[in-house]
């Protein structure tokens, strides 16, 4: 049956080449556009709420405050952005397990907060962020 077709009328055979061309072009288009977009980023999400009460034994956190004018205070002592880590490390030398609580006011710069967060993260200091809106 098949053989008879092939031998007798060649024109009935479907020429696949143009379709294959189109399919290949589509394939290449989708491969090129499917740039699996990968961005580098930080996870700054707060930890999920837990029912367990905070450990009473835990040392008090080191409070790093950043106010609206980007002034930085580590435990109420003013410092600048490059010295936050050394200031925190000084406090952690006394209380090695203490975490850092980043208290930010709304108009502080994003860049400074990310830099502090990143420095803490890179040095294995547990850090969490909290917003303050009062001018204390």
């Amino acid at each position: 049956m098949r053989r008879r077709n092939k031998h007798h009328d060649d024109q009935a055979e479907v020429n696949m080449t143009p379709m294959l061309d189109i399919v290949f072009i589509l394939l290449i288009f989708f491969i090129v556009t499917a740039t699996f977009l990968s961005e580098e980023g930080l996870d700054m999400r707060p930890p999920p709420d837990s029912d367990t009460p905070p450990d009473a034994e835990a040392p008090p956190p080191i409070v790093v405050q950043v106010d609206d004018d980007n002034n930085i205070f580590v435990n109420r002592t003013r410092t600048d952005v490059d010295r936050v880590l050394s200031a925190v490390n000084r406090f952690r030398a006394e209380e090695p397990n203490s975490a850092v609580l980043l208290e930010v006011q709304d108009e502080a710069d994003h860049g400074i907060i990310v830099q502090i967060w990143d420095e803490m993260g890179a040095n294995g200091v547990p850090v969490s962020i909290q917003r303050t809106n009062d001018d204390s």
Binding site: A34, E107, G121
Partner: protein
């Protein structure tokens, strides 16, 4: 020309290339790429993002930019904070498992970034803060 030659020696059919299996493979690849391609909507604004050392690679499908002028950009448009929820819901409909990334400018207010982040967390969207791409 070549066809004519091949038609002459119809005797040896084995020489003719059978394209069907290749076509099958190509189609499957094509369908794979069509299905997996998520067209990411760029925010349409450039932000100078802060550099970080602890950054990790993520594959976001939703980009939200916050500029130094504290404008929130999604899909080439500026939105107010109260419009943002509707816009994100719309994006989530297209891609329910969307992961978001906030491209905050260094000079943007942290309050606004945290507002956007809180909104996304509230909507159960995985969210990360984008940093400088190296």
């Amino acid at each position: 020309m070549a066809r004519r030659v091949s038609r002459v020696n119809t005797g040896e059919e084995e020489i003719e290339l059978n394209m069907t299996p290749m076509l099958d493979v190509v189609f499957i690849l094509l369908i794979f790429f069509i299905v997996t391609s998520v067209f990411i909507k760029e925010p349409g604004v450039d932000t100078t993002r802060p550099d970080a050392m602890t950054e990790e690679d993520r594959n976001p499908s939703m980009l939200i930019a916050v500029t130094a002028e504290n404008e929130v950009w999604v899909n080439r448009r500026v939105y107010e904070m109260n419009e943002l929820r509707g816009v994100i819901e719309q994006l989530l409909q297209e891609n329910p498992k969307g992961r978001a990334m906030i491209q905050g400018d260094e000079g943007a207010n942290i309050g606004l970034i945290l507002d956007v982040q809180e909104l996304l967390i509230e909507m159960d969207v995985e969210v990360h803060i984008s940093t400088l791409q190296t």
